[in-house]
Symmetry: C2
Subunit: 355 residues, 2 copies
């Protein structure tokens, strides 16, 4: 197998009794090859397990690729600011290989803005697009456009299976709800109430939240957990009744734990728990936002589930690069592990690179 040199196109040509040009045409389906020659080459190719030298291939086809990255405005939300960091990191990593990444941001609370931003991105005729399509329904038509334009695209954060992307990078949200449930339930002997808290300006990415709640409820619907009551609340921080509702919740004497489904929400819930000295009520949320970490360290937040937005964005771009530049095939879906963050293992996550 690995006896000496690797097989080169030249070798295949010699074995098949044709020129390198013909082999090249066969490999890339460029046509202009006789049946006869094609048969000879393919038969040699099947015998020998030809693996193109990706280094040489990349150098030879000295292309520069432009990738458009589309995310919500990072300034509107710390979660998306993390995604942005992942994009910047990808830029730093790939720029020397002739990859240019153009960032296009849209308004987190404006569906219309999403569509126009994607259209703008397409108009620049990029070689590939990486996008976090948080507006599910609105996204569908633009993917048709991408398909007719023949632009390969990778989704992250939110999956849209109908869009049949090159690849999706994200998490199993349903399962993450189950993880949250398990952690809230862990070691709880006595009956009580658990609350699912959807806290959001808007219910734009409501699909996310619904999935999480489903998983959460599913966990408690299984054997021997009937003694626990599950309640779900939709709270809008800019709503006038917001404080009252939250106060009422944390003062519920039966309340054993809260599962906050949005990344920003857990810090808000934590502040209420601290204010009412209800730190014994368990709290679990999402993501390593600075605010969240503060409460994780004081013990008010017990666990955070890490969605790793930075890495999602980074990997999304890397997948696209591997597809465009190295012609590598990618897993059609890459679901990140559901990382459980505690006060004690937090440091190990903050210090570790991406890799």
């Amino acid at each position: 197998m690995d006896l000496g040199k690797n097989i080169r196109i030249k070798d295949i040509a010699k074995l098949a009794g044709v020129s390198v040009g013909t082999v090249d045409r066969v490999i890339h389906n460029r046509g202009r090859v006789s049946q006869e020659a094609l048969k000879k080459v393919t038969s040699v190719m099947e015998q020998i397990d030809y693996k193109p030298n990706l280094i040489a291939r990349t150098l030879g086809s000295n292309k520069n690729y432009r990738i458009a990255a589309i995310i919500p405005n990072p300034e509107q939300d710390p979660y998306w600011s993390q995604s942005n960091k992942g994009i910047l990191q990808a830029q730093a990593e790939w720029t020397q290989y002739g990859i240019n990444i153009d960032l296009h941001v849209f308004d987190l609370f404006n569906k219309e803005s999403f569509i126009t931003t994607v259209q703008e991105a397409i108009a620049t005729k990029p070689d590939g697009i990486v996008v976090a399509p948080i507006f599910y329904h609105e996204a569908l038509p633009v993917f048709d456009l991408l398909k007719t334009e023949q632009i390969p695209y990778v989704l992250f954060n939110t999956n849209i299976p109908e869009a049949t992307p090159l690849s999706f990078i994200g998490q199993n949200l349903y399962q993450s709800g189950k993880v949250a449930a398990q952690l809230l339930h862990f070691g709880q002997e006595n009956p009580g109430t658990f609350a699912v808290l959807h806290m959001d300006e808007d219910i734009q990415d409501s699909l996310h939240l619904v999935e999480k709640e489903k998983g959460f409820r599913e966990y408690f619907s299984s054997n021997g957990k009937a003694k626990f009551e599950i309640m779900a609340l939709n709270l809008n921080p800019s709503d006038s009744a917001f404080e009252t509702q939250l106060n009422e919740l944390v003062n519920n004497p039966n309340l054993k734990g809260i599962f906050v489904t949005t990344s920003k929400g857990s810090a808000v819930a934590a502040s209420f728990l601290e204010k009412h000295s209800k730190k014994h009520i368990r709290l679990i949320g999402y993501d390593l936002l600075d605010e969240n970490l503060k409460y994780l360290k004081t013990g008010t937040i017990d666990f955070l589930i890490h969605q790793n937005p930075k890495r999602q964005a980074f990997l999304g771009i890397s997948h696209l690069v591997n597809h465009l530049m190295f012609k590598k095939s990618m897993p059609q879906q890459e679901l990140f592990p559901l990382e459980v963050i505690t006060e004690e293992n937090l440091g190990s996550y903050l210090n570790s690179g991406l890799h």
Copy 2:
């Protein structure tokens, strides 16, 4: 900055008014360059932020590298079998780039075998070595040999700072002990006992175990945890008293939880808990061995801390490749996150790739 083309050696040569050969000599410190020329080139290089095209560089210096990977015999222990998988994966990934990986295994329970295996590996004059030096003291002399032989090496699993490797891949074991403690303690109101269980044929990698215990104890020595008693036990499965000791432990009415510091041990402990119907006693161990997963799924093991041996080995080799082939500088130390595995998030870890 990124206006159009990247700077090539040719461009630097033109700007400095010399030939590409001279620039090449400057870049690689090959000498044979006049003070004058050197000054011109370096000044240009400082102005322009030259980033060599790694693709072209790799193709140009058409070297084949041989890397020796040294680990305990995978057949002796499922943990090291995982490491082996990481090595195989690295092989699959890098073989097309002209990287050859030779596996050298030693006897997990034989220090002498470790030394001779390393010496054998060195005798093959590899371009780099990746090694899991589980025998701390025995390892020290062989690293002197590696230094005099000028062979770069990467450590994983066990760190030996005195060896000043190119890079170390592993985990903060002390901190992992704290994580274990936190999880056992989580939600525990009443006083009780927690046991640290070192279960091993030999105490070869005792340093590991000591570190973990230290962290565990440290956690409980902090504010308000005086009501918990910590006990530590060294148990040898091949010892005649083994069963008795373990039976005694699990029947201790004060026992709230067990922290098993070895990867194989937690399944053994779990089997005893199940036998005595003591599943309510919390159990936490290390690593995703098949046996462990079985008990994680039945709920006897509550948490596993994932040391990710597969990924450690894979990354160790990748670091070396980046150093040898791409001349990239590597972080001198890469500590993996302390991943907490539960029944519910296990699947997401098993399905996810390495990357």
